[in-house]
């Protein structure tokens, strides 16, 4: 094009500029209204989906989430909710696909990794699930979402326990305890799981603090009692169980455990601070209980001889010394150790005797 021609086309330039401004204005107005409408339609479908999900209809909720996402494809919350509903509906591949896309868009959103972990856990990919849960719970969570983080950590703990990764579970439980809200129930749950995992010292720390912070909480006292019981301090356990029962008379767990503890104390001669007479009485009770438990068992001549010895010890008159008590304990222990070889049918498993024997052994 020649410049002379160009100079003559200034009117066209002005005209095009005016048309351009008008078109931009029109398009701007139209696209704003269009985006508003899309967002509004998306929000409507999202609200419907949330309602459906609350009613437990995850499949229909997912359909509504999809519609919401169609209108607002860049809305991460919609996509995440869709993925969560899909997990609930068991459509794991589709959920995984949405989560993977979210992970690309928002790589620091911890809820994405928790979702991925849930999928991996459902598919029995335990190591992947644990890694994803870890990535999720160790990411930054906004303050409003802290309860979700705790829920995710609980899921991680359960997974670690089920996959027998005890020490890692204990570590996560201690983190849960240190960040637990100021109410007893979750802390008690941590304490009981620690006890279950054999972390008695950690559980002791938890329950000691709990009974100090919430002295009117029956479960805290029960936990304290179970810790004492695990340490072999049956008397302290009995006191704590009694306290728990006073606070909550309907606590059947404490009631049944108190019965066991009372029975253990009745047959535990090794407990400290008891008189020699009391020790002899408990030794007699222990031997009698063992003989009763083994009464249905038929061993060889040696076993019969030992039973006869035990019965002879029971018949012996006490002479005011500890020798008889010690002999009874030894006889009870020897007889109890033979139970698996002499009892052909069901092997006796008396929890009371076991606990008393364990206490004796620790002495």
């Amino acid at each position: 094009m020649r410049l002379t021609q160009l100079e003559g086309s200034w009117r066209a330039v002005v005209l095009v500029s005016i048309v351009l401004v008008l078109t931009i204005t029109l398009t701007g107005a139209a696209s704003s209204a269009y985006k508003r409408e899309r967002a509004s339609l998306g929000a409507t479908h999202f609200a419907m989906a949330e309602q459906l999900r609350q009613k437990g209809d995850a499949e229909t909720a997912a359909e509504e989430y999809r519609r919401a996402l169609f209108f607002s494809p860049d809305n991460g919350d919609y996509r995440l909710s869709l993925a969560t509903a899909l997990i609930e509906a068991g459509r794991l591949d589709e959920a995984q696909s949405h989560l993977e896309q979210l992970a690309e868009d928002e790589p620091t959103n911890p809820r994405i990794y928790v979702g991925m972990a849930e999928i991996a856990a459902r598919l029995h990919r335990t190591n992947t699930a644990i890694a994803d849960y870890r990535r999720g719970v160790y990411e930054y969570w906004p303050p409003a979402e802290i309860p979700l983080r705790r829920a995710a950590r609980w899921e991680l703990v359960n997974l670690l326990i089920s996959s027998r990764r005890k020490n890692e579970a204990i570590g996560e439980l201690m983190l849960l305890y240190s960040s637990a809200p100021n109410e007893p129930h979750e802390r008690e749950r941590v304490g009981f799981l620690l006890l279950q995992l054999g972390a008695t010292s950690d559980a002791s720390h938890v329950f000691s603090e709990l009974v100090r912070m919430f002295p009117q909480e029956a479960a805290a006292w029960r936990g304290q009692a179970e810790v004492a019981s695990a340490f072999g301090d049956y008397v302290a356990a009995r006191h704590s169980f009694q306290r728990a029962l006073r606070l909550d008379p309907n606590d059947h767990e404490s009631a049944s455990q108190l019965q066991v503890i009372n029975a253990v104390i009745d047959v535990a001669p090794a407990l400290p601070n008891i008189s020699s007479g009391e020790r002899l009485r408990r030794s007699t009770n222990l031997l009698r209980r063992v003989l009763k438990e083994l009464s249905g068992c038929t061993g060889g001549a040696e076993f019969s001889q030992e039973v006869a010895t035990g019965e002879a010890l029971l018949a012996k008159r006490p002479k005011g010394n500890d020798d008889l008590s010690l002999q009874m304990q030894q006889a009870a222990q020897e007889l109890w150790q033979q139970r698996s070889s002499v009892c052909a049918g069901t092997i006796p498993a008396d929890k009371v005797i076991e606990m008393a024997m364990a206490r004796n052994a620790s002495e």
Binding site: S9, L15, L20, T27, R66, R91, S97
Partner: protein, 529 residues
């Protein structure tokens, strides 16, 4: 008094503006680039409005009501098709036909002239037909609307004939790039299919227009890509076999589709005049019937593709969707309902790829990825087989997925699809449509096949050491046409080496040129007489 002074001030301002503009000195190239930028912006804006209009029509016609009353879904595509055909037959007759071919006709036949009414006609007709659920896409109309805008601006600025021819492809690239939201694809498609020439002089302008169109579209519609693509990975090298199979299947299916379109169009030509409205209505109704069971096939189908890419459907359902879409697209397109073929091609290819990939995963779970990984490759394969634009198809999938890993599978599948489709159906899609309309347009494939003759094809080799004579010389790689011009001035022309210009390597006479062109002496004499 005040009125007079105000008028004088306005006139003064106008004169200032005029003189300032007159002082602006732009070279032709700068001016052309500036115009390309404008074309890109206008095309982007128009595509935004087009996109909004399609959605608006869709919400109004296929919104909540169609879910509640089935007859709405049955009748809407039929009514939309009839309405759209009315628009292009009665109101804007120049807007009829394929956008790509109409643009090519404008470039090769009418110096880039595209009537402004074509833009309005395409916009209105396609917004109605696609929005009401007819199985067609918005990209081909966008391409023609972009070319139309370019042509309008070119005429407004009174561009010379040569520039007018160059400006239409610039607009076409802007239109298709904005529609796909992929600038590279826009550029490549125009170079490969519309211009059918890789050595186009307007490449810079085409790129600039495509980029500015995409930027404009994104500024108004956001940065969301056309497809939300999940991460793609190649699980094993043996997976390439599955991609090759998808390519072969895509090529075969695209050839079958083209044969069916060709057969349908030939049969429809024999039906009397009433067909123009009745056929689109009937095909729209059939689309509605299919839409009762497979609502995903209605309209462009991008939402369904997005859902499928996220694993919403089983591989069997993907195959059903692909077949259903193929049938309704065949009907809608053959009935001449306004709309493009790109979106349906991507849909059919995607579903085919996903279905076959899903089947492979079902049979061979460890060696094959889930179905959605194969969808993108399927899209590219069907696109390559149908439009015979291999570079465009490869880069389109690369741009859509933003994944380097996908390049290799796409190349394998697209090459297979291209070769199979070419073997089964020799004519590419747009060429076939043009031939059905009695128009002969060039294609890149033809240009690759029929390369222009060069001097080296005609020259006679000479003895080494031949003396260089005075006069004009030629190089062996120059076009033979150049030799003809020189041979009108001298009896023979010596051909020299480019590396050693003093070394004569050949000699060329008019007879050699005739021989190379295959013109025998009697025939030449006869034609002269």
């Amino acid at each position: 008094m005040s009125n007079t002074s105000r008028r004088e001030r306005r006139q003064q301002l106008w004169r200032d503006l005029q003189s300032r503009f007159a002082r602006v000195r732009l070279t032709d190239t700068q001016w052309f680039l500036l115009l390309s930028l404008l074309i890109g912006i206008f095309s982007g804006l128009l595509v935004v409005l087009f996109h909004i209009s399609i959605d608006l029509v869709s919400w109004m016609s296929l919104g909540a009501l169609s879910g509640r009353y089935h007859f709405v879904r049955l009748l809407t595509p039929a009514l939309g098709a009839v309405g759209a055909v009315y628009v292009v037959r009665k109101l804007f007759p120049l807007a009829r036909g394929s956008g790509v071919n109409q643009t090519k006709v404008a470039i090769y036949e009418s110096d880039g002239y595209i009537a402004t009414s074509t833009i309005a006609g395409k916009f209105l007709a396609c917004a109605v037909s696609i929005g009401t659920g007819n199985s067609l896409g918005p990209e081909d109309p966008s391409l023609q609307m972009g070319a139309g805008i370019a042509s309008r601006l070119g005429r407004l600025f009174a561009l010379p004939r040569g520039n007018m021819r160059m400006i239409a492809p610039v607009g076409a690239a802007a239109g298709i790039a904005a529609a796909f939201d992929t600038p590279i694809t826009g550029v490549l498609f125009v170079m490969e299919e519309v211009l059918a020439d890789w050595s186009a002089t307007a490449v810079g302008s085409i790129v600039l227009a495509a980029v500015s169109a995409v930027v404009t579209t994104r500024a108004f519609l956001g940065n969301d890509p056309l497809f939300a693509i999940p991460s793609f990975e190649l699980t094993s090298a043996s997976e390439l076999l599955i991609y090759a199979v998808i390519g072969i299947a895509g090529g075969a299916l695209s050839a079958l589709f083209m044969s069916l379109v060709e057969a349908a169009k030939r049969r429809i030509e024999n039906i009397p005049h009433w067909r123009h409205y009745v056929l689109p209505g009937v095909c729209g109704f059939f689309t509605g019937v299919v839409g009762l069971w497979f609502p995903e096939v209605m309209g462009a189908g991008y939402d369904a593709l997005n859902s499928a890419l996220h694993g919403q459907f089983t591989w069997q359902f993907l195959l059903y969707l692909g077949v259903a879409k193929l049938i309704v697209t065949l009907l809608c397109f053959s009935a001449e309902t306004p709309g493009g073929m790109f979106a349906p091609a991507l849909f059919i290819g995607g579903m085919l790829g996903g279905g076959l990939g899903g089947l492979a995963h079902h049979v061979w779970p460890r060696g094959a990825a889930p179905a959605e990984s194969y969808m993108l490759v399927g899209m590219g394969a069907f696109f390559a087989g149908m439009f015979r634009a291999p570079m465009t198809s490869i880069f389109m999938i690369f741009e859509l997925s933003a994944s380097y890993v996908i390049i290799l599978p796409v190349m394998v599948a697209n090459t297979a699809a291209y070769l199979v489709s070419r073997h089964l159906h020799a004519t590419p899609f747009f060429k076939m449509l043009a031939q059905l309309e009695g128009v002969n347009l060039p294609t890149a494939e033809e240009k690759r096949t029929f390369q222009p003759l060069r001097v080296e094809n005609a020259m006679q080799a000479v003895e080494p050491g031949t003396v260089l004579e005075p006069g004009m010389k030629l190089y062996p790689d120059e076009p033979l046409d150049a030799a003809l011009r020189l041979l009108s001035l001298q009896s023979h022309v010596q051909v020299t080496s480019r590396v050693h210009p003093d070394q004569v390597i050949g000699d060329l006479t008019l007879e050699d040129v005739h021989r190379a062109y295959g013109i025998t002496e009697p025939a030449f004499a006869k034609s002269r007489s």
